[in-house]
Symmetry: D2
Subunit: 333 residues, 4 copies
């Protein structure tokens, strides 16, 4: 059965998902809604979708699934509404910036027995999947320490930062999700440090641009996360997992697999410098996984609960920075 999709939001990430839907066998894009007419028209023209209002989409009998790419503060309401309307919902992270609101929304989805997948595309990256498969195959024994290095090529505009919920909810949230995925055990305690090192305007906006976090599980496994908003050499996305029998690492993606040697030494090109080019394959695989779930009724691989837990870790990190202490997750969830 072909899953018939509508997308809400035709901005940058909305276009990525529309493209993914178009390229995945078994999925078709039926409709798109966006108050910005030009953006909506672009998706219509590129992917052959119809323009509809959100109301119309909720009521459309020819729409099975909806991808939500609207601003964060609309996510929870839309999820509730669309699930009630019987649509399978894929929502970009986060469900909401408020943990309480997320909990309420998930309760609504559960009560409606709705299908909800929250977008954490890194779990679908081919290299990260190869790393996870190596762990699952027992190649490194028991997982002991996860090290996540996650550096953006540059900070978003300060206006965006002000609405983003801060570095932990906006950027580290992806690492929190990857940490939970790889640790194989819930996090018990969070310790975090954060600074403003790259741009004082970020500090003036009440946020940080540089952060380090230590997560500890009940059995004592650790995960460290290193974040900064600015890496001159591109979008730095590395994972290393250390276990009882060995270690496995996922390396970065350079713009080309070449190396130049000259009198100054050996030179390779910088990294891909944009999350959409770095994670192109991941976004497509993510939508393909969602299509599979809608078709088979299988549980979604990244759930509302995953979204909530990543957000709770972000809140714990903020609390740790503010109060200078190790925060127990039991305080929050």
């Amino acid at each position: 059965m072909t899953v018939r999709f509508a997308t809400l939001g035709a901005g940058r990430i909305g276009q990525v998902h529309a493209g993914a839907i178009a390229s995945v066998p078994g999925a078709t894009l039926v409709a798109v809604a966006d108050p910005v007419a030009a953006a909506a028209a672009h998706v219509r023209d590129t992917f052959g979708a119809e323009l509809r209002s959100i109301d119309a989409i909720a009521a459309s009998r020819d729409v099975d699934a909806v991808v939500i790419c609207t601003p964060t503060d609309t996510h929870a309401d839309l999820i509730e509404r669309l699930v009630t309307a019987g649509k399978a919902v894929f929502c970009e992270k986060p469900v909401d910036l408020s943990l309480a609101r997320v909990k309420a929304c998930l309760a609504h989805v559960d009560a409606a027995k709705g299908t909800l997948m929250v977008g954490f595309q890194r779990r679908f990256d081919p290299d990260f999947n190869a790393l996870k498969s190596a762990i699952d195959a027992g190649r490194i024994g028991a997982v002991e320490m996860v090290t996540l290095t996650s550096r953006d090529p540059g900070a978003p505009p300060v206006d965006y930062i002000k609405r983003s919920g801060g570095i932990f909810r906006d950027m580290t949230i992806h690492d929190f999700d990857v940490a939970r995925w790889l640790l194989g055990e819930e996090v018990a305690h969070v310790q975090a440090a954060a600074s403003v090192l790259t741009d004082p305007a970020i500090g003036a906006a009440g946020d940080f641009d540089s952060a380090n976090v230590i997560l500890t599980t009940a059995s004592g496994k650790h995960c460290t996360i290193t974040n900064t908003r600015r890496a001159t050499y591109g979008y730095d996305q590395r994972i290393e997992v250390h276990g009882s029998l060995g270690s496995v690492s996922a390396h970065n993606t350079h713009t080309a697999r070449i190396e130049i040697a000259d009198a100054d030494g050996y030179h390779r090109p910088p990294l891909l410098d944009f999350f959409m080019s770095r994670y192109t394959a991941a976004y497509a695989a993510e939508i393909a996984a969602f299509v599979h779930c809608v078709n088979t009724g299988a549980p979604t691989p990244t759930t509302g609960h995953d979204g909530m837990m990543a957000l709770a870790l972000a809140e714990a990190a903020l609390l740790s920075v503010a109060e200078g202490r190790r925060v127990a997750m039991s305080e929050l969830v």
Copy 2:
């Protein structure tokens, strides 16, 4: 203007090109011809093309360009016929196994002022392009030595080998083309050595499975080519170009960018082991380049002449092996 395509041949490489046409903006697949009904139907169903005979395609007013993926011994005739019919032609290498036949065919195309592009997809590989751009940007100064390492993951069936024209015409031909592309100067002399090391059946079929070639230009630049039909670790495709100011290398493509460390050491996955997965992006870029030429009238980046020269280098290599001497290209072209 959208270029309307037909493909002749719906086998392995025919499907690759059909997929490339489908994915390239400005191109559309109208028709497919293949005497094997199932293969043709597969392309029809997957890419929405109509089934037509070659005759019908030659006569079709809604077909601007034809991609020839039929057996080698049909290439030259088809090129002549389709060019005469006013179609732009993309033909998989080689034009023919006989140098005389190739020359005659190209004369026909010239007389008809036809458009012909010969498929040498490696020139369109993103990594090899980055290497070429570095050379063109002067990063290594004057090119002095090109080193091509080209190893197949495994030999094709002996039946294929018998019809293939031998390792130099079937496999090394790609390296000969890359050599000409990178040397920036025609080859003047060829020295070659060839052996049967991996499978005596290949020798029994009159062919070799292992070969090394030295090409020399008039000004004394060198290119060495190392070929074998069997590399256990995948499809080994490396280029290194040494120049007066430095050197540039294009590295291999592994199945994943991960590395495992354990008590035995550090382990990375093997290489992609199939030319179609290794060169997926190259095949798409190649068709995109052809579409651009058909649309703009620009000369094709890989021409019938390129096809002829690569074949002539293969003949020279065979002659060098047979007679134990350095062969001058002036003997052949």
Copy 3:
């Protein structure tokens, strides 16, 4: 002028230093003291030194400098005694496991205007020095984040662990010193987490085998340290420093620079698995630096103060683990 040395302690590290003295121009080994006759005789026979008592060495007119490689609990007393006797002193870390005792000892050295160098050999490793030089040359701009990965190939015997002062004072202490060296600013706050993951006997001895630490300076620079007592693939010693203009990394040292490719992929040998082989060049360079200081009166590059600060960081880390809070260095020094 040739600096005439005596070494106290002829065990493993004592032999390393005796060998370093023998290999460094401008240094000569005159005498060795060790209560274990066989060990002392081995150094005498290998390097041509005389056997003397510690008393005799302190009184020897033909001894300019003394290297202390005795058990930790003797260090502070020996330093005081030898400095008083007018000897230049090189002492293996740590000066003492008690911060108070270290402070008293350093006060004694200062009062005597003595020469004291504390052994932190990593600062003398050629690769780490190349990394430091790149930073000092401005290649990465302002230092923002230091990441130290330091994993032992295996835990020492539990008996040793019991006397060692624990993982932070015994193992992380080297990373604390490297952190101070690279941050270029004193650490203001310490957050640490520690677990027992590799061997319950280590926990039973009151110690940890796995630890992660975040250090923060007053201006907000961070250093993260990842330690474990067991890395199956060898002695894992990596540094990465991230700055405003870029990043610099020092890589590991494998047992050989070879790589094997086969049907399972690409394989490199494991790392050197012993601190003495990994840091052979560093130990020699460290003694050479000490000889230079003794000869020229230049201040020693790693001082008693450095030893004290690294120990204070270890105490802060322990306090952070115990109390679940961010510890200010101003509480300790």
Copy 4:
């Protein structure tokens, strides 16, 4: 038993060998001879050797072994004289530039049942040894193709080149020896190409600066050798051996194991740029192997025959370039 050495020649390579003798257990340097007084004095002062004439050394009862580092045209005479005098002889390559003279000299050594080792230090390089061990352990199955990349950082002075016997006898000779070592089978045929690309003065001196060679054994194994006198990025010394089960490579040695990432990409330092620093460990291991042979009577690992065969391969390569043909080794030896 300690082997008592004299060295003839106290130039650059003579000092390397004197240093190696000094550092190898079981060897001691007794005497040095060099007509250049300052050079001889330097070895005397650095390593504690006595100055003696060659005559005196030949007659010395306290000299067991002699290392010959004098100009090439003296090697054969000195070997004959010292072997006759009962000394074990280590001679730097080549024994002579004339194949006939080498044969006569080796006949003399055989008749005298003398001990002769010819210096091919690459066989003693730790990385190349690890590669050879992997082959011998069966890790790549049967050897099929050896690829040697050997590029000097810069050409020697033209005066040296004029006396050197040309690139094949002076530079490629090391690769010829490595080829024989790794192929495990004598070379049957030689094909070579050579050019002047880096400096016309080298051509004016009758030599080449760039060369490529294909060696073929009777069973069809190949070795390709790529040489140039100028690599801007350092002393490029790589080996790759391809076999039926896989491949093994030995990588280059950089000046430091660091990498810098910045807005231009990733940068590693250049290679060591001098054969003496690149092969320091190899020279020491080579002398240690010779000491072992002198002490035990074991056959030397690199013999006069090895020296002759490498020279014969050089002659064959020259002949191949001159006559444009594949040269059979049976024409020469």
